[in-house]
């Protein structure tokens, strides 16, 4: 059996999106900015896709620019506003559990002379609102906090953060890559000024993302080129991917409540069973509101890569927060930020359930997982030390 439980990394392209894309990969190939008919056809498709997404998110079409990824949207958004607001100040606040595309952008800005406050999170991965308030200075221009964390699924109190930002007239950027298409909301609900998201997280194609920019927000150009996407993201539009993104979001919104419920039921069932079957495990962020399909499990006294590969051997795809599966050999900054000891952070696995998973698949994982954990623990000196004490 093949079971894909890495839906927070990427998802399968849905059939509806694929079919919507095909004409723009074949017969309609004009440059959407050309004036001739070839261009008009794709130009119309681009306009309609922008309107579809804007309607679903309850924003205006001209508040949306398309990018090549969530990473690019985060870069264009953050770098664009900090440059535009440089004269007001050079201090920004970001949470310490951001995705690398925000975290490393903030670190790069530090090198470029900006000051960054990294907001701490509690053991469930929630940002500390008191620390946020205390961190605000006269020269603070931007607060960036992700909507839901990709590793543990924790959903941040955006409403409160948005109010704090608004109260101080500070711009608020949200990396909503993990929530757009999974939760029903509009950036207008939370006073968000900039919001990034990406199609391949909601069963759309890879290589296309988008950035919401609230009307009237001053932006500096970070990529220079032609006039596409208000000059903020120049380059010939990837019309097929954008059309696919719009269709995928439409499909996601159609069943958003049912899908939430289904994923949550499968996830809760999975957690209930493995707690029953496997000793010495911790489900992370279980006490707080989190993404319905995300389950972050710490298997004490084990190292994550060995679990990941053993599961892969059985056809089960997951991801790991351990150092050994990353290029830089550091344990996940998210788990460490939540105060999980490094020893245990290494043994943390993320199971992320999505639209196409079934109960049969989850049952298969529930059966395959305990012997894998037992086999690896038998080999682990740490487990044996624990058992002997």
């Amino acid at each position: 059996m093949k079971v894909y439980l890495d839906n927070n990394a990427t998802t399968k392209l849905c059939k509806e999106a694929f079919e919507a894309m095909v004409p723009y990969l074949t017969e309609y190939y004009g440059n959407s900015h050309s004036m001739h008919r070839f261009g008009q056809e794709t130009g119309k498709a681009l306009r309609e896709a922008r309107e579809t997404i804007a309607n679903l998110l309850k924003i205006e079409a001209d508040e949306l620019i398309f990018t090549a990824s969530g990473t690019e949207a985060n870069n264009i958004g953050i770098r664009g506003v900090v440059r535009a607001f440089e004269r007001r100040g050079k201090h920004i606040i970001v949470s310490e559990i951001e995705h690398p595309s925000v975290r490393n952008t903030a670190k790069d800005l530090e090198k470029l002379g900006y000051e960054v406050t990294f907001l701490k999170v509690d053991k469930n991965g929630l940002v500390d609102l008191e620390q946020l308030k205390k961190s605000i200075r006269k020269d603070t221009v931007l607060i960036s906090v992700m909507h839901a964390n990709n590793e543990v699924g924790t959903i941040q109190p955006l409403k409160e953060i948005g109010q704090i930002a608004k109260g101080h007239r500070i711009l608020f950027h949200v990396d909503a890559v993990q929530t757009v298409g999974k939760l029903k909301f509009s950036p207008k609900d939370y006073n968000i000024d900039l919001m990034s998201f990406s199609a391949h997280k909601f069963y759309g194609p890879k290589g296309v993302g988008a950035l919401y920019i609230k009307k009237g927000t001053r932006m500096a150009k970070f990529i220079t080129g032609g006039g596409q996407e208000k000059g903020l993201r120049p380059g010939t539009s990837n019309v097929a991917a954008i059309v696919g993104m719009a269709k995928a979001l439409e499909v996601a919104f159609k069943n958003i409540k049912e899908e939430y419920k289904k994923e949550k039921e499968l996830r809760d069932y999975f957690e209930e069973k493995i707690i029953e079957k496997i000793p010495e495990i911790v489900i992370n962020s279980k006490e707080v509101d989190r993404l319905p399909g995300t389950s972050s499990v710490t298997f004490k006294y084990l190292e994550g890569e060995s679990i990941l590969l053993s599961l892969d051997f059985k056809g089960i795809a997951v991801s790991s927060g351990s150092a050994c599966s990353s290029e830089d050999l550091h344990a996940s900054h998210v788990l460490l930020g939540m105060g999980i000891e490094e020893e245990f952070a290494h043994g943390t696995i993320r199971f992320s359930i999505g639209r196409y998973n079934t109960k049969e698949e989850i049952d298969y994982v529930i059966n395959e997982l305990p012997p894998i954990i037992e086999r690896l623990r038998m080999m682990s000196p740490l487990w044996n030390e624990f058992k002997n004490n």
């Binding site: 190292e303 590969l309 051997f313 490094e342 682990s380």
Partner: protein, 124 residues
């Protein structure tokens, strides 16, 4: 990043896993917060390694290097076992990804620690 078939074989079917009671030599290297730790147990007669067992906490390459290094020293003289280098361990596995080379160092160091323990006991 991809492992060789040999690494995957030694990871999925590790040789010589376990413990030797009252070993002639024992070594433990690594620490939990770094994500890898290896224990090695030796039974030695007439300076020849007659039995070897290991336990490892770590990634696939840590387990695979532990496994193959026990095969490399079993039946060898103590002096020969001391000559097993991390490079030889990695080569025996048809190579390791660059960021995993430190795992082979773990195996080499654990063998050395166990043999040092043996030599210390012998000299007392």
């Amino acid at each position: 990043m991809q492992y060789s078939e040999k690494v995957m074989d030694h990871f999925m079917n590790p040789r010589n896993v376990g413990v030797i009671e009252n070993p002639d030599g024992y070594g433990k290297i690594g620490n939990a917060s770094c994500g890898d730790m290896m224990e090695i147990f030796l039974r030695i007669e007439d300076d020849i390694i007659k039995d070897v067992k290991f336990r490892t906490f770590g990634c696939a390459s840590a387990i695979a290097t532990s496994s193959i290094s026990t095969e490399m020293i079993l039946g060898k003289k103590v002096s020969e076992a001391l000559e097993v280098t991390n490079k030889a361990v990695a080569e025996a596995l048809d190579g390791l990804p660059p960021q995993k080379m430190h795992c082979s160092v773990l195996a080499e160091d654990a063998i050395k620690a166990a043999i040092e323990d043996y030599l210390k006991k012998k000299n007392n």
